[in-house]
């Protein structure tokens, strides 16, 4: 139920964004450069892909796939827009294609979407501020873990002498010192 409500709000959000997109905006390219989507005469029930295709960019375009893989499908769990055919994903995919037509780079397109939808639209947390923690902690864990194990397990190594007596480093050092003292006494 909650998912439905969420998706509905998102969907309405999405259409609002789409309308905003059509409005003239300082950041947008001049009108003559912007791709003009031919208005379909009738909704083609067979192939919505043909009706909505605003640009010449194909779904199989490697650059498009690379960008689309990094944007999340807002209405599904765990999928990118590339893997999803949900209505909202299709909208975002079209927006990606439009942005590609404007000649933007991958980073610029991502930035465009972050501005519109917040960092939530990206599939991994941005590497800044508090979110940096999500990246640093695993790396630190993976790097320091072996050292910690080394110290905990290996440094506390127990020595066993030929008589089967257990001792540790501190004890051995102490014994050796005493031995030295005894030897010195004998010499002296």
């Amino acid at each position: 139920m909650k998912a439905i409500v969420l998706s509905l709000t998102l969907l309405s959000l999405g259409t609002a964004q789409a309308q905003e997109l059509n409005a003239p905006d300082g950041n947008e390219a001049p009108a003559e450069l912007a791709p003009v989507a031919p208005k379909p005469e009738s909704a083609d029930p067979l192939n919505p892909a043909a009706a909505r295709k605003p640009t010449a960019v194909q779904d199989s375009d490697p650059f498009f796939r690379e960008v689309a893989r990094d944007l999340r499908c807002p209405t599904c769990t765990g999928l990118s827009i590339l893997e999803s055919d949900a209505g909202f994903s299709i909208q975002i995919k079209d927006q990606v294609k439009e942005q590609m037509q404007l000649g933007k780079s991958k980073e610029e397109i991502k930035e465009y979407f972050v501005e519109r939808y917040g960092p939530w639209i990206l599939r991994e947390p941005p590497k800044e501020g508090f979110n940096l923690l999500a990246w640093v902690v695993p790396i630190v864990l993976l790097c320091l873990g072996p050292i910690a194990i080394w110290l905990l397990v290996w440094k506390r190594r127990v020595h066993v002498n030929t008589q089967g007596v257990r001792s540790n480093d501190a004890l051995i050092a102490e014994m050796q010192e005493r031995l030295k003292a005894i030897k010195q006494e004998k010499v002296g």
């Binding site: 067979l46 490697p62 893989r69 765990g78 999928l79 960092p119 947390p125 979110n131 072996p146 190594r157």
Partner: protein, 665 residues
């Protein structure tokens, strides 16, 4: 009407398990044998009643008794017999009931079949299990009551979730719950060992057995869940790192880590406290995952309070972790470090510690990734997503660690710095891996299906896996040679080793399979009926009749049969379809899959002409080495089961801890 009795049965269960918990605690405190017997009987009554309640629920499902709210929500008149049965666990209340039933079943088995060695800690085991049960029954009679009534009863139910009407989804949840509840036994034994203040010989054997059972069930269940996603959702993958998947994966990692630490404990006497922590953590994570996925906290922190389940689960989890930690903090010093003369050295024990580290770090990374959106939203008020790219950043490195850990660790020997035949095996495998990698590259179509950026990772991964397989084969050869190829003796004495070997082989094959996720091809085509198209050397011929409408039980299928040819030779038929259920105005994908060992041809019917059905749009994916994963998981499960039949492992603890402690006292 019958359902009213159901509620009373559950209520009886709650009272019984609460009584059982209290009496077990007192029995443990007073060392009162007959009071403990009464606690055991209370446990048994609990199991019998909850079993009866479950049967009653299933009966009500078949009666289509819509006066029960849960049945009205999850069933309908047109539901086929099989799914009427599985509808029991298609939603929260029912799956909770099933889980509770399994837990009381396992708990009853556990307290009646304990070994003589564990007799002194059994009251604590019983108390721990019944405390958990009492809470689950409390939830079942308050916030997740499966027998809640709606009167007057509607004429027809709202229908079972269409996505769950799939044979894989029918068996995935019960297997997962069995995996979860069998992890409850190591948990109870750990609490008992802490309370009693000692780990005894029988403890290890029992915990190992239940952890292995849990391992087998969790492995199978997680894979079936992935398989369900693969054949039902239509995005051509089986693992998306979404919170639901992660929350079933974390207990698996803990369980696997526990199995490895138990080996060290058996051989060396060390890591007793780690085993205890892992048992508790594994059991905790089962509930934690359920909390994450059922309370709605995953979609947003703020949706948490909407369902009463959330706060209840949270208080339970907090209670579980606080009480367990408190017991651990106060009692762990009584678990004495092993009084062994054995040292770590560069031996298998040390390799096992590295394995522990990898498994636990993996679990930590999955945990961080799953929890981070929630934490971040709570702290910075900004929503972020943590999805597959994040996990895929770390998982390959852990996988790399697994490859080396398994290849070298398997060759090492317990209590020995010497690896027998190290050079011939390790360097022989370097050579052996070359042809094997060639075969994998050729048949796995690495060149044909690669995506531009990660060819080197693919090649390195395949080569290292082949190398590790070479090492594993060398290891078992040496082992056999040491036994002078006396296979009878091998299978009699070394089933524990052999099971582990099989599971490790399975992991290697699985990694080869996972590498296929990072390549593959996809294409989207629109064709008229009767036309054909070519892709990846295959010719896909559609039928001239176009979309065919079929009735399959309750679903109407719109199928678009495709005949698959390679050259002139027919390879097979693929029947992608869309299905429509009478209960919902929406169509669902029914994916057509065919192919061979090396790649799957995965076809989704994306869209079709609704007026005459003569034009169709297909999404075609070539998914390399998916079947490797399924085969690998089967091998891993078999490995787990084989180890289960090792009668020697854990039976004779080499380090008699209890004795040593009592003597020194």
């Amino acid at each position: 009407m019958l359902a009213n009795y159901g509620f009373y049965l559950i209520f009886l269960c709650f009272i019984c398990s609460f009584y059982g918990f209290a009496s077990a605690i007192l029995a443990a405190y007073w060392r009162h044998r007959r009071l403990y017997m009464s606690s055991k009987l209370a446990m048994t009554v609990t199991f019998v009643s909850v079993f009866a309640a479950t049967v009653l629920m299933i009966y009500a499902f078949y009666q289509r008794d819509y006066s029960v709210n849960y049945i009205a929500k999850n069933s309908s008149n047109d539901l086929p017999a099989l799914f009427t049965f599985t509808a029991l666990w298609s939603s929260l209340e029912g799956s909770h009931l099933l889980w509770t039933m399994f837990l009381s079943c396992v708990a009853t088995i556990c307290i009646w079949t304990h070994s003589r060695d564990n007799e002194h800690i059994m009251p604590y085991v019983s108390a721990a299990l019944q405390a958990v049960l009492a809470w689950m029954f409390y939830l079942a009679i308050t916030h997740s009551d499966p027998f809640k009534a709606t009167l007057p009863a509607p004429m027809d139910g709202r229908g079972m979730n269409e996505l769950l009407q799939n044979p894989y989804m029918a068996i995935h949840p019960p297997l997962l719950f069995i995996g979860y509840v069998t992890l409850g036994v190591p948990f109870a034994y750990s609490i008992a060992a802490l309370c009693f203040g000692d780990i005894t010989e029988g403890w290890l054997k029992t915990v190992r057995r239940w952890a292995l059972i849990s391992f087998v069930f969790l492995t199978a269940a997680i894979t079936l869940g992935g398989r369900w996603a693969y054949v039902e959702l239509g995005w051509a993958g089986y693992w998306a790192w979404d919170p639901v998947e992660n929350s079933s994966f974390m207990p698996w990692l803990m369980c696997t880590a526990l199995l490895h630490s138990l080996i060290v404990q058996d051989k060396l006497g060390h890591l007793k406290r780690l085993s205890i922590v892992l048992s508790i953590a594994g059991f905790f994570l089962c509930y934690f995952g359920t909390f994450l996925t059922r309370s709605g906290v995953v979609s947003s922190v703020h949706s948490f309070a909407e369902s009463p389940i959330g706060p209840n689960y949270l208080s339970y989890l907090a209670g579980l972790i606080i009480i367990s930690s408190a017991i651990y903090a106060f009692r762990a010093p009584s678990i004495l470090p092993s009084d062994t003369e054995k040292v770590w050295g560069v031996s298998k024990e040390s390799a096992l510690v590295v394995t522990q580290f990898l498994l636990i770090s993996f679990a930590a990374i999955v945990f961080i990734g799953t929890m981070f959106p929630i934490v971040s939203e709570a702290i910075t008020e900004q929503r972020i997503s943590v999805q597959a790219p994040y996990f895929n950043m770390f998982a390959p490195w852990i996988g790399l660690g697994f490859i080396f850990g398994i290849a070298i660790g398997q060759l090492m020997r317990y209590q020995s710095n010497n690896i027998p035949y190290a050079k011939p095996i390790i360097f022989g495998s370097v050579i052996f891996a070359i042809p094997l990698t060639m075969v994998l590259i050729y048949f796995g179509d690495v060149m044909g299906t690669r995506k531009t950026y990660n060819l080197i990772a693919q090649l390195v991964g395949l080569y290292l896996c082949s190398w590790a397989i070479g090492c594993l084969l060398g290891d078992i050869y040496v082992k056999m040679k040491d036994l002078r190829f006396n296979y009878g003796l091998f299978f009699k004495r070394n089933l524990g080793y052999f099971g582990g070997w099989l599971a490790h082989l399975g992991v290697m094959i699985a990694i080869i399979g996972f590498l296929g996720n990072y390549r593959g091809l996809e294409n989207r085509v629109t064709v008229k009926a009767g036309e054909s198209f070519e892709f990846f050397g295959y010719r896909f011929e559609t039928e001239a009749a176009g979309i065919q409408v079929k009735q399959n039980k309750n679903a109407t299928l719109y199928t678009a049969p495709i005949h698959l040819f390679r050259g002139e030779q027919k390879v097979g038929d693929i029947i992608p379809a869309q299905s429509r259920y009478p209960t919902k105005d929406q169509t669902f994908n029914e994916i057509g899959i065919t192919g061979n060992l090396w790649h799957d041809v995965y076809v989704v019917l994306v869209d079709f002409d609704r007026s005459d059905g003569k034009r169709m749009t297909f999404q075609v994916n070539i998914n390399p080495t998916v079947r490797f994963v399924w085969i690998a998981i089967v091998i891993m499960c078999i490995g787990g089961m084989v180890s289960l039949f090792d009668l020697y492992r854990g039976n004779k603890s080499r380090d008699v801890v209890a004795g040593a402690w009592e003597v020194s006292k």
